[in-house]
Symmetry: D2
């Protein structure tokens, strides 16, 4: 990965980085792939004397635990739900399908690396990001209290292997995932993310708005099929008198009584928590036998996907979503307030 | 508006353009604003001898029916659900709130103009786009048959003032809207859009993928709070064995039995219809009295929004959504297949 | 023209704008085209209560004095030195050649409009831009004293119809131009531009550097064939010990004794005046008979270009070059220091 | 380096790549740095089974021969002509000055890697690029015959350590460089580049034109201070009747009798060879004692730059310039003709 546009003079909190990277790695739980992905990060440029230099930061994470034989029959049999067929056409058959190639979930490791840096820089400006798993399959957690979210609560979520607001949900989510695994099947879910501390006035109407920018990055994460802000799709079953968030003054601050718009009006932040939910589809790679085609013979075929796959990737996608949000928000802040303000290891407020 | 990157030699179907523009304008129905918005388009450059020249096409649509007095008290009272407050901070109080300024729904007129041109160019390549209203408030239409959508069906939808798949829905939708109007309130809804004929292999993994690009434009439309592809959020309550779309061959063509991924795998089209749903919140401007603040005195205040507003904008947003999709898809096709292929008024297939 | 990214709250000095626009217009001198180009600017958006709103500023300048008959035989005969042939191929014959279409020098009017605004915003930050005509044909003016250039000197240049450092050059330049006119021919020249007051530290190494950005815009001006910074091409006949600009401290400021690098090291400003020279070729449209081809018959042909053309455009290009520099530098400052710092009609220093 | 947007299915000619990389490396001549820079390229992604996959190609070249002690006193003493001071301000003192950090000439190695690939892809479309050294200090080579340049001639230039059109120039250039070295000084020069085979019709008027794009990349190369096309600055001392390149037909092809515009009219290629000259300043690092400042004490100081530096980098810049041109032209061709046309290892003509 190459990260350009970072402020100079920023010192990486290596412990926090390790923790963020660990959240994305396969867990020891049954449901997760048995691949070992140690995520050794080698920084090649842009970091000197334990500080960012401000020039492009290049880092590499090598993929050490690939078993190419797991992919041996995939050169001809197109996995349903995967990009095997669409990628084959796009690249005229030259794309690398080992471990998914550029379609691999491994591509989210550099996103988490960049996201951890971005989140660390944001926290110097009192901006914090965190997520809980809103649902897995048909089971739902309770949502954030969207007008009142604390840094502490978001930090606690980062310490959970299956981050939830209602603690009892964890066991239920794990039970659903375990059941799917036993069926040689997989399940998906929804992740709800809160971003607190973003000052009002960031973003623009029509193009370069906060929602477009966040959604654009979130849909770049493999398996994401839906993104919504505030009440999202449910806002369509409210009356305007309900969905409008009334403004009021409290201790000299402008607040809203509800937060159905997810902290964004007209594409611009209003100072309330940003709320975004992301739908993650069930893992495409399942052990169950499926119908598909052989791209070489152009005949119908049957496929059983071998290899070591997660029966639910939602817990591992959480840090990727946090990272996508952190990168996008930092990028917008640097765009609006200027790199100069952050250079030398400073935050928004000095 | 200025549209750069158009192919040369393309001749606008003025009748079709007028029809597309008319769909966005206020209807004669009770629920719609009483403003007259005649949408006279003056083309200033880029169009000569009834053909695009290939250089930037500049066109203007003047806003002739503004009543500034409707906005007189809005300089200090921030409308809830609007961008008044966030915009005030963003622009340090200098933004123009007459008719919403750059936040006005009027800004969607140039999108429909550009979208009509894009759709006309796409139809030369046998690519067609159309939408129905999937829901208004708590009432739902039937969805598209997502593996089998015809050009004819999509065209029929464009002839309806309230486009629906199940014809009986029209009256029910209008009744809900009328009820909201009587309550001095407003309602929102969901629009489902289909794009057929896009060849497989368009888009890229991670960045510059079809979903990010479509979502980015759709979230640029005022009032949009959610975007989902294929089964979208509902895909999270399917098993992987259900959500994976099995591939099969039929008459030498590669098809999928279901289309839960909305025609997109790994960010790349797979040749099936693209399916996207867009959540549109209730109109923010309502006649009901609301709590808010006075930005000048920084005190709490009450507000009744005067002026002529839609009690439901969903029918008028439909052509804007169609346009956002047409512009995005044409842009991606020109990017991948090259402008040269379209220059001289040609489609993908010559 | 549409200008996005302007700071809010900025009030246009209409007198200065008029003066800038007038400098680009044909002069009353013999050498200049007899077309009347009154440059009436109509602002359609982004400007309200005599202040920029911060949202896109759209303005139009109509081309009122075109004589299409002057272009009647140009549809088939390709003017040498013009973009007639290259444009014909690029746009498959659909480009508009009336008055040059998108290749017309008229396209520089919006650049001067935008440039005047940019220069006005820059002057609030004590950054000033001005140019003299360094040469016409074989006659040379004296160059700027490149370590010591005052705002006053740059302003004086803007008051001259033929801006020169050595006043006697004006008559000599005009004599050369008049002689070319009498021969039904044309001449070009070089413009030297100084930008003073840019703080050190703006720009980036490799990509997004000051020289690339300025050159990119300058080469966008029709007829420009060369761009050089500081000593430019002549620096290649110095020794390194001469071309290196020695640094020294004076009154707590870092300065250089010479300015052979034109105020830019490694793509980044060093606080000294930026010096750039731009080569402008002789006007392509000349009354003399020329050899060319007929694009329709694909036969060799003779052409006499009718119409009203400048025998030297260098004086009129000066404000366009100033504008290209102003837009580029303002864009880089906003990028590095952030829009927020300029919003509300402020300069870099408050 | 990460190269995105490459066509799929392209096989790298490793021998040609090695040769291109070798041209940039220090020569065995006296004038060149004694650093060993072996340029071992490790490809991490985007290349599989000896073909580009079409997804981002990531490669690294490690900098193995740095002697940090050579840079020990440079942390406080700012080298004149270098970016030490401007970079110090830009990055608030956090930039890495070891070997120049991101300002190092080593950064041109990845440009040559990418440029070699681009040139190889272009040659499949019969587009060829080559350069000779037009001048060193005050000695000039003969220029290209700009209407008649062969692939063979350009290839021959690549086989010379000091590429020249007039063979006797080589010894004279080397003598000048050796004399500078003995004086503990350095010299610069001009490189003239030809690009043949680019079809007419590539580029756009005003923005995204061929000259802006080439100049933008060329000015990204460290030490470049001037760029000109065709006759460049000298075109300003021609009459329009001379500078206009007359068109004529020959064997069904459209040609020009002269090529003063360097193959570009109105920012668009006209099918003639593209001619660009690039001014390269004398190496900033010289052994001679120079005046400068100490950035820590903010006092005047004396500096002798130790280390192993070229007394003339012009020969080594030649392949970097070729590469900048190859990357820019390929990028513009892919933009105009589309990636699809090149995917699967094809050229413009199949």
């Amino acid at each position: 990965m190459v990260i350009d546009g970072l402020p100079s003079g920023f010192s990486i909190d290596q412990e926090r980085l390790s923790k963020d990277m660990a959240r994305r790695r396969p867990s020891q739980q049954n449901y997760s792939t048995k691949r070992r992905e140690p995520d050794e990060i080698e920084m090649l440029s842009g970091y000197h004397n334990d500080r960012t230099t401000g020039t492009p930061l290049c880092a590499i994470i090598r993929n050490r635990d690939t078993r190419s034989k797991d992919y041996s029959n995939l050169e001809s049999l197109m996995r349903p739900g995967h990009a095997d067929y669409s990628g084959h056409i796009r690249y005229k058959g030259f794309n690398d399908i080992r471990g998914g190639g550029h379609f691999s979930g491994r591509l989210t490791a550099p996103i988490v690396f960049a996201g951890s840096l971005a989140a660390q820089i944001l926290s110097m400006s009192n901006i914090f990001i965190g997520s809980h798993i809103d649902s897995v399959f048909d089971k739902h957690d309770v949502r954030f209290d969207d007008t009142n979210i604390t840094e502490e609560h978001l930090n606690n979520l980062k310490d959970m292997d299956v981050p939830v607001n209602e603690l009892s949900c964890r066991e239920e989510f794990l039970a659903i995932i375990e059941e799917a695994r036993k069926k040689c099947d997989s399940v998906g879910g929804v992740v709800e993310t809160a971003i607190i501390g973003v000052p009002a006035g960031v973003g623009s109407p029509i193009f370069d708005n906060v929602e477009s920018n966040l959604a654009s990055f979130l849909f770049s994460i493999p398996a994401v099929k839906g993104v919504e802000f505030g009440e999202g799709f449910s806002i369509t079953s409210l009356y305007g008198s309900q969905s409008n968030d009334s403004l009021y003054m409290e201790n000299g601050k402008v607040l809203t009584r509800t937060n159905n718009n997810g902290g964004i009006n007209g594409g611009i932040t209003n100072g309330m928590p940003l709320i975004v939910r992301t739908a993650v589809k069930p893992t495409s790679s399942i052990a169950k036998k499926q119908d598909t085609i052989n791209i070489n013979t152009l005949e119908n075929a049957k496929l059983e996907v071998k290899g070591r796959h997660d029966s639910c990737i939602v817990p591992r996608v959480v840090p990727v979503i946090d990272s996508a949000c952190a990168i996008t928000i930092l990028d917008m802040l640097i765009g609006y307030y200027g790199l100069d303000r952050f250079n030398g290891g400073k935050g928004l407020y000095g």
